[in-house]
Each structure stands twice: as C-alpha cells, then as structure tokens.
C-alpha cells in the first residue's frame, strides 16, 4: 500500500488545495483528511456521508458534590491546574483536565467520577473522485493523534476492500502528536513550503521530523516567485538533505478562485498553473511507487 501524506509544518502553504488537485488527478485510491482539528478538504470534495461514527477517547474528572468533603486532596495532586477550590466542592476545568485519573485514584471518599469523553466524529464518504475518510474533532478536545491513527486504519481497510493500492492524505499543520501520527510508517511525505522566513523555518523542522522517523520526503515550493532568495535557499537545503524537489508553483490567485468555486484548481482551470500541478502529481506518484517497489 502506498501512503502519501501532504504536510507543511506551517499552515496555509497550500496543503489542502494541492491534495484536492491530487485527488482529482488520481484514481483507485482512498482520500483521507488527517487534519481532524480544522479539516478543509471536504470543502473542495463535497463528500456525501455513507457512515458516521462517534469517536470516544479518554476520560474526564467530574466531582460529585453530594459525596465530596472538600478536603482539597485533588486540587493538590492535579499537575494540570485543572481543579480549583470552590464551594461546595472543587471545580474541574474540563479544558485543562487531561484525564490522568490521579484525582479519581487519590480521592479519600471516591467522589470523582471518570466518564469517557466524546471527542469527535469520523466519516466514510463518497465524493466525485471516489472514497474519502475524514473526521471532525469537537472544539477544545485533545488532538491526540489517536483519531488520526484510526482514520489511517480505516482508510487502509477501505483501500484493501476496494482493491486500491494507494491512500492520499491531507495532513495537519505543526510537528506535534497529530503530525507524528500521520507520518509514522507512511510511504512518502510531501512537504509543501513557501519562500518566506516562516516557510523555510518550518520546512526545516518538519524535514527533521521526517528524518527522525525515517520517512522519505519530497518538497513542493509553492508561491516560488514570492522571494527568489528564499526559493534558492530551499532548493539548496533540499539538495543538502537529500529531499527531492517535486516542483515549484508560482503565486497564482487561481487557487483562491477555484476554492471559492468549490472546485480543485485542476478542475477549475486549464492554465499553465494547472499543468504544473499535473506534472508535480506525476512526479509525486512515481516517487511513491518507486519507494513501494524498493
């Protein structure tokens, strides 16, 4: 199974617009949105939900006032400052509670309940480009990577069932847990960057993360005409680190116009920009297939 995940470190470099175009340009694969916190791919692909499931993960502390003797043990033991003194019993801030169970275990009168939490929903859907697996975390929930792992598992099963050999995923921003969960054991990371100080800085960190987990990576330089100096630096950085430059795209407002039209850029326009995206997809696919063969 070839798993391609599109990442960037920095948000807003064009991950989702490019993943959407790649979904348009490819076939016999499952598309997956691994940005479960602020997912956007569905806005381009307009999925119809076939099945929706609840995602439950972790627990949260709830103090029962009728039992609590307000001794303060839980307040003292909580390392997350999630429990504050109050009357008649301490109050738990659910935004700070990490669900560690320490207050439950050490409450001398067993006054703390520990219900499981509903953290979000995940969906198997059909789009005009085929199957899609995606999710939406509830606001303020822990973006633990567990939902990302679950989506990847579902996508693999669905691909196997349909006889596809590829999963194409839109990844989350950053370098933390959800990104690590998107990367681990994937065939190819495609890093979308831009020639800005932030783009360069964040490329270096995400590339280091890929190296750390020994994931082969290719780089797409988006808005390459924004700053020639940074573009040159990115190219030499890639050369030095053995990262394949899959292509460069100029800054073009057609990407925004396509998004407003709720289409992928390669559907919306047949200009030079779209041709470049097509070439990049061919190189990306070839790289993924080559890695799979080895």
């Amino acid at each position: 199974m070839i798993e391609i995940v599109v990442l960037s470190g920095k948000g807003g470099t064009g991950k989702t617009s490019l993943t959407g175009a790649f979904a348009h340009l490819s076939s016999n694969r499952v598309v997956c949105d691994l940005d479960v916190d602020a997912p956007d791919l569905h806005l381009l692909l307009d999925p119809s939900t076939i099945s929706a499931q609840e995602f439950r993960s972790g627990h949260e502390a709830v103090i029962r006032p009728e039992i609590c003797e307000n001794c303060g043990e839980c307040i003292e033991r909580c390392r997350f400052e999630a429990i504050l003194p109050a009357v008649p019993c301490p109050s738990v801030n659910p935004l700070k509670c990490e669900g560690c169970k320490v207050c439950v275990a050490f409450c001398p009168v067993n006054a703390v309940d520990f219900p499981e939490k509903l953290c979000g929903h995940w969906f198997v859907s059909k789009t005009r480009f085929g199957w899609m697996v995606h999710a939406q975390l509830l606001p303020a929930e822990e973006n633990s990577g567990r939902l990302v792992a679950l989506l990847r598992q579902q996508a693999r099963e669905l691909a196997k069932e349909k006889g596809f050999n590829m999963i194409l995923s839109d990844g989350p921003p950053g370098i933390g847990c959800p990104v690590i969960s998107s990367l681990s054991g994937t065939s190819l990371a495609v890093i979308v960057t831009e020639p800005t100080p932030s783009g360069r800085h964040d490329l270096e960190r995400i590339a280091e993360l890929c190296e750390h987990f020994k994931i082969p990576a290719g780089v797409i330089i988006n808005k390459c005409d924004l700053h020639e100096g940074h573009t040159r630096h990115i190219e030499s950085f890639c050369l030095e680190k053995g990262l394949k430059v899959l292509g460069a795209l100029p800054h073009d407002t057609v990407v925004t116009h396509a998004m407003v039209a709720k289409q992928t850029v390669t559907e919306y326009s047949h200009n030079d920009f779209s041709d470049k995206v097509k070439q990049i997809w061919i190189r990306t696919k070839e790289m993924g297939e080559g890695l799979e063969k080895n």
């Binding site: 470099t13 627990h59 320490v102 050490f106 973006n143 950053g174 960190r205 993360l209």
Partner: protein
C-alpha cells in the same frame, strides 16, 4: 491586558498581525509566541535573546529491584506509558503526560522522577518590547506541557514588571489553541475571505465562545475571495475590527521578513487603529466585569 491572536486555519496571518501589533503597541508589552510547534514570531521581531532554558516533563524511571509487579502504576496510567508484562516493568516515557500518579501510587518506591526534554523557552527583547517564546523539540509529540512552561515564565515576567501581552497562538481549535487563548482579555480571530477561512473561523468562533471573552475578526487578504466571511460575521455578531487588503506588496514584505507596518503609512494607520480598537474592547470588558461584580 492580554491579547491572543488566533485562527482556526493556519497561514491566515496570525504572526503578521501579532508582529504588527507589537510594533505599534503604546505601552510596555511582552510579545509571546505560544505556537511552540512552529514558532515564527521571532523571524519578524528578530529579538535579542538573553536567555534560553530547556523545559522538562517529569516522567517515571523504574527501579526493577524494588518492583513487585503489582501493576498498580500500569492500571492507573491512562496514557499507556507504563506496563507490567509478567515479571518485567516497562516504561514508555514518550507517552507520559507527567501527571505523577504512578510515582505516588507505587507502594514499593520503585518509581522515581526522571525527565523528558520538551523543548526550549527563550526570552529577551525586540526593540521596545519584551519577547518570549517556546520551541518544541523535534520528535516531541506533546505541545501543551511546554506551553504550560512558557505560560509559567510569562506570569513571572508579568509579576516582575507589569506589561500587556500579545500572544501569537497556534492554529486550530483543539486543546493547544484553546489553552493559548483562555487567559486572554481579548481574542482576535485572523481569517481570510475564502471557504477555508470561513469554515475554520466558524470552528474557532464556536470553540472560543464558551470562554466568554470579547472576540473580533481580522480579515486578511481582503478583496481576494468571496463575501461569505462577512456574511457570517454579521449574522453571528462577530465584529470585524480590521481588514488587511490583499496586496502582493504585503506578501513580499512578509517574505522579506518585514513587519507589515513598514510597508506603507496606510498599513501603519490600519494597525494603529486595530490596536486602539483592541484596547477599547478590553476596557469595555473590564467595565462590564466591574458592573457584574457590583451587581453580585
């Protein structure tokens, strides 16, 4: 007064707005980068860093000679960071959230406190402003513990010398983003007038609404896209407190590492007006708080 600059979607211009606000702020201010996964504010404010310290999380270290394999630690741990397999005690320090439960519950004293490096906290000065940032170690999965450490340092800095705070928050609306904005007096939602911008603005607005803080939208790249963001703001009562026009010169200035107030007098004025607006939002809240307190 604490101002958090947030957004659901990444790349809408949080850092651009944060850096610009810091550059025009007319009072002592601490520029704070809480986007510890991908901190970028320093690239534009170019601070002189006076000190960098490593931040650690307390994780268990096992002493197998004392362990009786009772597995109370493993039963308590909610993060699969410790397990007992037959007569072997295994810890997975990278999974640990640092709750300290296993250390307290072990009846044999077989677990002691070790550390996991989370990343670095740096501080210094950028022109007239104080500067503070966290930088997550590459490979470290959890940003909230480092964010807590950065906020701890921030509280020390505020206690030392009272100052306003401008926070560059991480993207998204999950736990790290909410933690970055929860102590703020005013939350700015930076967005762009596109379908992605709109969808993520709605997520952010809904996620932060329960905090009960005044929120205002800053529309970046105004003019490129559609009107749906404006419609949403007017329907849902989110005031649009600034519009930064779509302008290739701004993108080029950003690419060159410049703060956008340097681009033109118009932008300088625009950001100054935004700062004034933010101040008045905070003042109104303070007034309301006093009113509520009197009412109580």
């Amino acid at each position: 007064m604490i101002v958090a600059v947030a957004s659901g979607k990444g790349g809408t211009g949080k850092t651009t707005v944060s850096a610009a606000l810091v550059s025009v702020w007319e009072a002592p201010v601490i520029a704070t980068d809480l986007d510890v996964e991908e901190p970028n504010l320093h690239l534009f404010l170019r601070p002189e860093i006076s000190e960098t310290i490593k931040a650690f999380l307390e994780v268990p270290v096992a002493d197998e000679t004392r362990c009786t394999y009772c597995a109370q630690c493993a039963d308590l741990c909610q993060f699969k960071a410790i397990s007992v397999l037959g007569e072997t005690l295994v810890t997975f320090p990278e999974m640990c959230h640092g709750c300290g439960g296993c250390l307290s519950i072990c009846p044999e004293g077989a677990l002691s406190a070790g550390t996991r490096e989370l990343g670095e906290i740096s501080w210094g000065r950028a022109d007239g402003a104080a500067f503070l940032m966290g930088r997550l170690r590459v490979g470290e999965a959890m940003s909230p513990p480092l964010m807590r450490a950065v906020k701890g340092k921030l509280n020390e800095m505020i206690a030392e010398k009272s100052a306003d705070v401008i926070i560059d928050a991480p993207p998204g609306v999950s736990c790290p983003a909410v933690n970055a904005v929860m102590d703020a007096d005013v939350i700015l939602l930076v967005t762009e007038p596109t379908p992605f911008g709109l969808y993520d603005l709605k997520l952010a607005h809904k996620a932060f609404q329960p905090l009960g803080k005044p929120m205002g939208a800053v529309i970046n790249r105004a003019g490129l896209g559609s009107t749906s963001v404006y419609d949403y703001c007017s329907e849902s009562g989110v005031d649009i407190i600034a519009e930064i026009p779509y302008d290739p010169d701004i993108a080029k200035a950003y690419a060159g590492g410049n703060v956008i107030t340097e681009v033109s007098d118009n932008l300088q004025t625009l950001i100054r007006n935004l700062a004034t607006r933010v101040r008045s939002m905070a003042k109104n809240t303070a007034k309301n708080n006093v009113r509520e307190a009197l009412h109580d």
